[in-house]
Every structure is written in C-alpha cells, then in structure tokens.
C-alpha cells in the first residue's frame, strides 16, 4: 500500500510536467499561427488597394514569416498530437518529412519574394505566391476540431 502511494506521489508531478510540455508546444504553435495571421492582414489590405503600399512593412512581414515557420516545425514532438484544441492533422506525424518540406517551401517562397519585391507592382506580382502556402498547408496538414 505504502509503496503504491509513493509511486503515485512521485509519478504525479512527472505526468503533470509531461502534460504541460506538450500543451506548451501546442500553445506556442497556435500563437505562431496567430502571428502569421496578424502579419498577413496589412499585406492583403495592400493587395486589395485598401491600404497604401509600404515596402518596409512588406519586408518586415516576409522576415517574420521565415522566423515563424522555422520555429513552428520544431514544435511537433510525439507527445503533442492531441489536446489543447489542436488542429494539427495526424498526418503530420505520419509524414514528418513531407510536412517539413511544405514548411521549407513557404520559407523559401518568402525569402525569394523579399529579394524580388522592390515596389508596388513587383509586390502585387509576387506576394500571392507566398500567400498560397497558407491554403495549401492548411489543406494538407490541418483538421479543425480534430478531437
């Protein structure tokens, strides 16, 4: 009886730590995606002509995408498949290489765009290619309310 209690007492904090660890990853993933959304907002306004073109904002946004996605793909350990309202598709863990290459493509497109975008017309020509990554990744790797 006592031994069982001892095991329980010692393992509880350990289990709690594990749970916190995976939840933290999920939370961080969601924060990064929110940041991507906030980054996208002014860009789409510029594309639609609702806001004036501003090269500094565009360049900052493209750098932000690259930082975000680089960090994002490291936040998918085995213990973060479920919980905390994650919308991550189980497919991510079945094909981690495919998932990472989709992320790399996004980063590469953003990097390329930062060198090709110099004015409003090159922005309008090149920005949609970068933004298409949002939809194609969500199509393949996200399932809303999966649990």
């Amino acid at each position: 009886m006592k031994l069982q209690h001892a095991v329980l007492i010692f393992s509880l904090p350990l289990m709690a730590t594990l749970a916190v660890a995976s939840t933290a990853n999920i939370g961080e993933r969601q924060e990064i995606m929110k940041s991507n959304g906030a980054t996208t907002k002014p860009l789409v306004a510029m594309l639609k002509g609702e806001a004036p073109f501003d090269l500094t904002t565009v360049q900052k946004s493209l750098a932000n995408y690259q930082d975000n996605i680089g960090k994002f793909v490291t936040l998918f350990p085995e213990d973060s498949k479920t919980g905390a309202k994650t919308s991550a598709s189980p497919k991510i863990w079945e094909d981690m290489a495919g998932f990472k290459s989709a992320a790399d493509k996004f980063a590469a497109d953003a990097k390329l765009a930062s060198s090709t975008i110099t004015d409003e017309s090159s922005f309008k020509a090149n920005m949609p290619t970068v933004l298409k990554n949002c939809g194609s990744c969500h199509e393949a790797w996200r399932v809303k309310d999966a649990q």
């Binding site: 995606m33 991507n36 959304g37 906030a38 996208t40 907002k41 789409v44 309202k85 919308s87 933004l131 949002c134 939809g135 194609s136 990744c137 969500h138 199509e139 393949a140 790797w141 996200r142 399932v143 809303k144 309310d145 999966a146 649990q147």
Partner: protein, 309 residues
C-alpha cells in the same frame, strides 16, 4: 386462426412486391415523369464554364494524381462513413467518359441522379443540390465539359458497406428526398439575392457539406447550412447561417473575400476541403461571390456546433 395467418401471408407478399417495385430503376421515372429535362435555348459553353467552377466538378472528378483543372478522368477516392466512393470519368472520352452521352442523358444525370442506363447515382454526387439547376444551365455545363480533353480509363467501383452497397435502395431514397424542382426566382427579392440563392443552394451545393444529416444520409432541413460533423473524417464543418456560432459577425464583403482568397476576417486561411472549394470560387466573378454572401447573410440564424478559432 387460419384466416388471419393467410391474410398475414398475403400482406407480407404485398409488402415485398411493393418494396421491390418501388426500388425498381424505373419507379422514380414513373412517379416523377420526364418533363424536367427540356431545354428552351441553345447551349452556351461560356455560361457552362462559370457553372463548372461554381459546381466544383473538378474537385471530385479530377483525374487521380492530376493537378490541372481540365482532366476529368475521376478515380480520386472520397472516404465517407458509408464507404469509399470513386468518382467516375466525366471527360468527353468516347469509350470511358461521357463523350457518347446525349444532352438529355446529361441533364437527367445532373438533375435526377439517373445514369443513362437507368441506374440511380449515389448522392455523394450532389444531384440533391444540382437538381435546382435549370435544364438550360445543365445543358450549358455539358457543352463546356465537351470542350475539355478526353481522358481514357475507368475509375474503380465504389467500395461501400451494407446496406449502402444495395443500389436499388437508392430509388426509394430518391423518392423520399428528391423532388426535382428548379429554384424559382422570388420577385420581391433582389437580383443578387436570387443569384446568390441559385449558386449556394443549387450548383454550388454548399449545404451538402455544411449541414447535418439524418440516419438515412439526407440533410436535416431545419438545420440546413448550420454546419455539422465532417463526413470525410474528423472535425466539424462550420455554420454558414448568421448565428453567433456561424457568420453573425462577418460582413458580406468578408464572406465574398473568403471565397476569393481563402482568408477569414482574422486572416486565418481556410484548409481541408474548403481550400479546394476556394480554388473553384476564386474563378467566379466578384458579383457572383458577393451574391452568395448576400444570400448567406439573409438566412435565418440557426444555432450550430461551436467551433474553435
């Protein structure tokens, strides 16, 4: 004792015979008549191209493994709780596609869910919505598909679980759930509202995914467009009515914008099957996308399942 037993037997035989006849491939035809595929003008492939995008034909019928928007060889599996459907080859190939079909056969398929040989299609092919298209529009769609490249090869047969594997049952299903009416213009509503309704409820078949279904797989009318479980897997499909669990806070412009570039007002980008839908609606005109938004915002709000952001 003897008489009731005999009566019971007669009754049983009658029920079985009636059931058999009601599921006969010709029963639907006998009940509903054949006046619903008459066109009133020459087919217009330009309008057909618009309907092709609005109807999302390519999303299911694209050749398996092909990424282009014109090869309609079919075969890409659609996994559902009823089993796996393999959409057919609807390219104008003479042997494997619909190249030899007559216009009337095509209109019957679209508006009635009936194949040229009289067999009923499974409603995974959303003729439950397409039936609201006018015969003229269905003929336009056919004219456009005829301009696309022929693709050889057949899709595998559907792999369904019992009792869904019994195709005869569909005749009864169609009698119960399919009335074959064209959406009539409501004169007291605006032109864009009417256009939006036609696109959303008819060719766009939004309700097919965005509504909960009953035990028989038919849309629950009272809950139409209020979202529901995702039939293609885990997760939920969002509520499109202007309820607080749906599009209450969205402006018409925001809905139209999502249909163009896939971004929500929070600049999340839609995923899952909706990403493919947006590739189709992106090909529509701004006017058509706005019309769909106007119609959706005019719906009575229905409470749906809550969905996380």
């Amino acid at each position: 004792m003897k008489l009731p037993a005999r009566l019971l037997l007669v009754f049983c035989v009658f029920i079985i015979a009636a059931g058999y006849w009601l599921t006969d491939f010709d029963a639907h035809f006998a009940f509903r008549g054949d006046g619903r595929w008459k066109t009133t003008r020459a087919a217009d492939p330009v309008n057909g191209k618009v309907l092709f995008a609005a109807g999302g034909c390519i999303s299911c019928h694209a050749s398996s493994g092909s990424d282009d928007r014109v090869h309609l060889g079919g075969g890409k599996p659609l996994k559902t709780p009823f089993g796996i459907f393999y959409p057919s080859n609807i390219s104008p190939d003479l042997k494997d596609g619909i190249g030899r079909w007559t216009e009337t056969q095509f209109i019957r398929a679209i508006r009635d869910g009936t194949a040229p040989d009289g067999k009923p299609y499974y409603p995974a092919f959303p003729y439950t919505s397409y039936r609201h298209m006018s015969p003229d529009d269905a003929a336009d769609l056919f004219a456009y598909i005829k301009t696309l490249p022929p693709v050889a090869g057949n899709a595998p047969a559907h792999d369904l679980s019992f009792p869904y594997s019994v195709r005869r049952g569909l005749v009864l299903w169609k009698l119960a759930f399919l009335d074959g009416t064209v959406i009539e213009v409501e004169p007291h509503k605006s032109e864009s509202w009417n256009r939006g309704r036609y696109l959303v409820e008819g060719v766009g078949h939004c309700a097919e995914c965005h509504s909960p279904r009953n035990f028989a797989g038919a849309i629950i009318d009272a809950k139409r467009l209020s979202g529901g479980p995702n039939l293609e897997g885990k997760g939920t499909v969002p509520n499109l009515t202007p309820d607080k669990t749906g599009l209450a806070t969205w402006s018409e412009a925001e809905i139209a914008s999502l249909l163009k570039d896939g971004f929500t007002p929070d600049f999340d980008s839609v995923g899952g099957s909706m990403a493919e839908v947006v590739r189709n609606t992106a090909e529509l005109s701004d006017t058509d996308r706005m019309a769909m938004a106007i119609y959706l915002k005019s719906l009575p709000p229905i409470e749906g399942q809550k969905r996380s952001k």
